[in-house]
């Protein structure tokens, strides 16, 4: 299988490899005091993102449509969004602490795509030939990437209060904390959830406008719709709960993790539902 992917889909293979390499470099940056190690991580991550974009563009040309149809295509797209968003947030928050979880998620998406290999190019059925299709999926995937990032932060936050060296990691100016200021993990997670939440809201809006133009109904209580509503409500609860005394720190972090579990289920778990047979949304394959 690996030989096949290397020979027939070299860009896919090298993208995955680069994510894996940046993961290793970011992991090393957790322990190293040399700025250089972290810079290597960033450089590898950026290279991976560029190559990932090339994979997507290549497939766009081959398929003659946006490659967002099958699970395989969406995984490759998720990896890209995760990587790109991470690179931006690394700049914004001046830290490489989250490089490892971000690269892990991108690599994980590629590895899962490899495991569920399905590089077949499928024609777009009439139901998906809509101007709303691409914005709908894009908005959601950027949102998912943001919430994945926030979950990474929440996990680091949960570890930091339990594992002393993780605590040090987020406070010391090693290769990973660039500003010299201890990271306010709680605030970063909250910030990024807020950003992700706006995209979830926009995703619901675009999705319902599309549903209206395709089916004549803006909402049909389809399982995927319901679960994206659940996702939205759970993060809505997160945002409101944070304003209740005592709902910061660990509790909020757990809630962010739970929210992401719901996202993962919405993305990948629909096939497990008894009602999925009638859904218009479930990835087949």
């Amino acid at each position: 299988m690996l030989q096949y992917v290397l020979a027939e889909h070299p860009f896919f293979a090298f993208t995955s490899l680069l994510y894996a390499a940046s993961m290793a470099a970011y992991a090393a940056a957790w322990r190293s005091t040399k700025a250089f190690v972290g810079q290597v991580g960033t450089a590898l991550m950026m290279a991976a993102v560029v190559l990932n974009a090339a994979v997507i563009a290549g497939r766009y040309l081959e398929a003659g449509r946006a490659p967002l149809k099958s699970l395989f295509e969406s995984l490759v797209f998720f990896a890209f969004n995760m990587g790109l968003l991470y690179v931006v947030l690394e700049r914004l928050y001046k830290t490489r602490v989250f490089g490892l979880p971000a690269a892990f998620l991108s690599f994980g998406a590629m590895a899962y795509a490899l495991l569920k290999w399905d590089a077949e190019i499928v024609k777009l059925p009439p139901a998906l030939q809509s101007a709303w299709f691409v914005p709908h999926v894009m908005v959601y995937f950027v949102g998912y990437a943001a919430l994945a990032f926030a979950t990474g932060v929440a996990v680091v936050q949960l570890l930091a209060s339990r594992v002393p060296w993780v605590q040090r990691l987020t406070t010391l100016k090693l290769g990973s904390v660039l500003s010299g200021q201890p990271l306010d993990l709680d605030k970063i997670a909250y910030d990024v959830v807020r950003f992700g939440f706006i995209l979830l809201t926009l995703g619901l809006l675009v999705g319902s406008v599309w549903a209206k133009s395709a089916w004549g109904d803006f909402w049909v209580w389809d399982p995927k719709e319901n679960w994206s509503l659940v996702t939205w409500l759970v993060y809505g609860a997160y945002l409101h709960l944070r304003k209740v005394r005592g709902w910061r720190g660990d509790k909020a972090a757990w809630l962010a993790v739970a929210g992401f579990a719901v996202i993962m289920f919405t993305y990948l778990g629909m096939g497990l539902l008894p009602t999925s047979e009638e859904s218009n949304h479930v990835y087949s394959g």
């Binding site: 399905d118 590089a119 009439p126 809006l205 004549g216 209580w221 409500l233 409101h240 009602t275």
Partner: protein
């Protein structure tokens, strides 16, 4: 978190009990709303109007109560703990709606869910989003928003985001309510060039099942079913174990596929292959050459058709009147042929036999007979036949290819044709390559329609994802008939509430973005306020 005892501890303890009271009231309200809904719906059968009315009345009643009842009702309703609980409760309902099949006949629930079946039906969880418990939660939702807004009144620039977003929620909700009460949905069946439709058969709405007059006339001028071009590909299939209807089976599943090019390709199983030759419009031609240990063969032409004949074979005209027969020993004339050209290989003679007699002549190299209609020769006493592959044209009419597989150092070739697809098996039978045609898939259903209302005439093409709105109705492409290319099924929808749903949602997006990115700047320095309780 350090826990140094301070003077604040006592205050915390006091607020702890207040928080407890708030939590209890929250639980009471949320559970109460669901229970009241569940009980009420035994007597009041929910329909869209009942649901909307009940939700509205309950919402206002709770809100009104919160203003008059002393104690913490209003602040609880407006509080973040209550909001979060409510959002999670709504999420739980949405989840149940995906676990329990919705809108099925009641008998199915008994069959599928056993003892829980009757309970599901009694609670109306079979149509959970149209039951009163869900409506009860929605009512609290509205009351909570209004109550929290009342506590934050008046609107200021620093608070505008909250108002915009939460008014958006109410607007969306009101739009959805209007949509569920007022929307009408129905079917129109049209035939190209057929009758003009003036009515719609209502499938959802107050007049369900009835024919309702449309405010316009609708005619189908033409219906087009557009297909994607068919494609030819080399598919790679892998054997998988599947369970179908409880029976474990082995089946082949498409793992990947390749363009029919001549490059060498690596396969997922580790082997590789290439197409040694590709023939888009495949034909075979037989070539005969002199060789050792061969069979005698004679080239014969009749009326423009040329073939190599083996011992005992013949070539006849379409009407059977003229035939060329070749034999090593002198052959006999076939029955029914008025003119037979008999060639004997051993004697090297040609005999032209007719009813009125026979004429023989020696066969040299080749000979033209019957005024050139028949040609015989050359004769090859020891001929080896080879079949040659070729393509008639570059059009993909009858594709074939020679597949060369490389499996563990072994190279094999096989001719495959799309007309008779057969697998080239690799690695025993664990995987196979198949040169196959991907049949046409539907690309679009296009209904060319004309709508007329008085002098106003509009033409449009309705397709999936591209509806057409005329005189307050929107027409959607929903059906076709593969047996009748003139038929098109359209859905007509009138939905005055839907625009408000979208406006509301847009407001939510704007308000939330404003809350997150503008308000902190207005408050100065982007500093977060400490946890507050409304």
């Amino acid at each position: 978190m350090s826990s140094v005892p301070t003077a604040a501890t006592a205050a915390d303890a006091a607020s702890g009990t207040a928080a407890d009271r708030e939590a209890r009231l929250t639980a009471l309200l949320v559970v109460g709303a669901m229970v009241v809904g569940a009980v009420l719906q035994i007597v009041v059968p929910p329909g869209p109007l009942t649901l909307v009315a009940a939700t509205g009345v309950a919402s206002l009643a709770v809100l009104g109560l919160s203003f008059v009842v002393p104690g913490r009702l209003r602040t609880t309703l407006a509080g973040f703990r209550f909001t979060s609980t409510l959002l999670i409760a709504l999420a739980v309902f949405a989840i149940i709606g995906t676990l329990v099949l919705q809108g099925k006949p009641h008998a199915l629930y008994r069959e599928r869910y056993g003892v829980f079946g009757p309970l599901i039906v009694a609670l109306r969880f079979d149509d959970i989003f149209h039951g009163l418990p869900f409506a009860g939660l929605t009512a609290l939702f509205g009351a909570a928003i209004l109550s929290s807004a009342s506590l934050r009144w008046p609107v200021s620039w620093r608070r505008a985001g909250f108002f915009v977003a939460h008014v958006g929620l109410l607007v969306s909700g009101a739009g959805a309510a209007a949509s569920s009460v007022l929307s009408v949905r129905g079917r129109i069946d049209l035939f190209a060039g057929g009758d003009v439709a003036t009515q719609v058969r209502v499938t959802k709405g107050a007049e369900e099942g009835q024919l309702v007059a449309l405010p316009f006339e609708l005619k189908l001028d033409q219906f087009d079913l557009v297909n994607y071009e068919p494609e030819f590909r080399v598919g790679y299939y892998e054997k998988v174990r599947v369970v179908r209807d409880g029976v474990p089976l082995e089946d082949y599943r498409l793992k990947t596929s390749f363009d029919p090019d001549t490059a060498k390709h690596r396969l997922p199983g580790g082997d590789s292959y290439r197409l040694k030759a590709v023939y888009p419009d495949f034909v075979t031609t037989t070539k005969v050459v002199e060789g050792p240990n061969g069979q005698p063969a004679l080239q014969a032409a009749l009326g423009g058709v040329t073939r190599w004949l083996a011992d005992g074979e013949q070539l006849a005209s379409a009407d059977g009147q003229v035939a060329v027969v070749f034999g090593w020993e002198r052959p006999l004339a076939p029955a029914g042929a008025a003119t037979a050209v008999l060639v004997s290989g051993k004697e090297r003679t040609v005999i032209v036999q007719r009813a009125d007699g026979a004429v023989a002549q020696p066969l040299g190299g080749s000979a033209a007979l019957l005024g050139g209609f028949v040609k015989v020769g050359p004769l090859v006493p020891s001929a080896v036949r080879t079949v040659d592959y070729a393509t008639r044209s570059s059009e993909w009419k009858n594709p074939a290819a020679i597949v060369e597989t490389h499996v563990g150092g072994q190279v094999k070739e096989q001719l495959v044709t799309v007309a008779q697809p057969r697998g080239v098996f690799l690695d025993g039978d664990r995987s196979a390559l198949v040169f196959e045609k991907r049949e046409k898939e539907v690309k679009a259903y296009l209904s060319h329609v004309t709508a007329r209302k008085g002098d106003q005439v509009e033409r449009a093409v309705v397709s999936v994802n591209d509806p057409f709105t005329f005189a307050g109705w929107t027409l959607y492409q929903v059906n076709y008939n593969p047996q009748d290319p003139t038929y098109s099924g359209l859905e007509a929808v009138r939905d005055p509430g839907v625009a408000w749903v979208f406006v509301g949602f847009a407001l939510i997006c704007l308000g939330v973005a404003y809350m997150f990115y503008v308000e902190p700047r207005l408050r100065g320095g982007g500093i977060e306020r400490p946890g507050t309780r409304a």
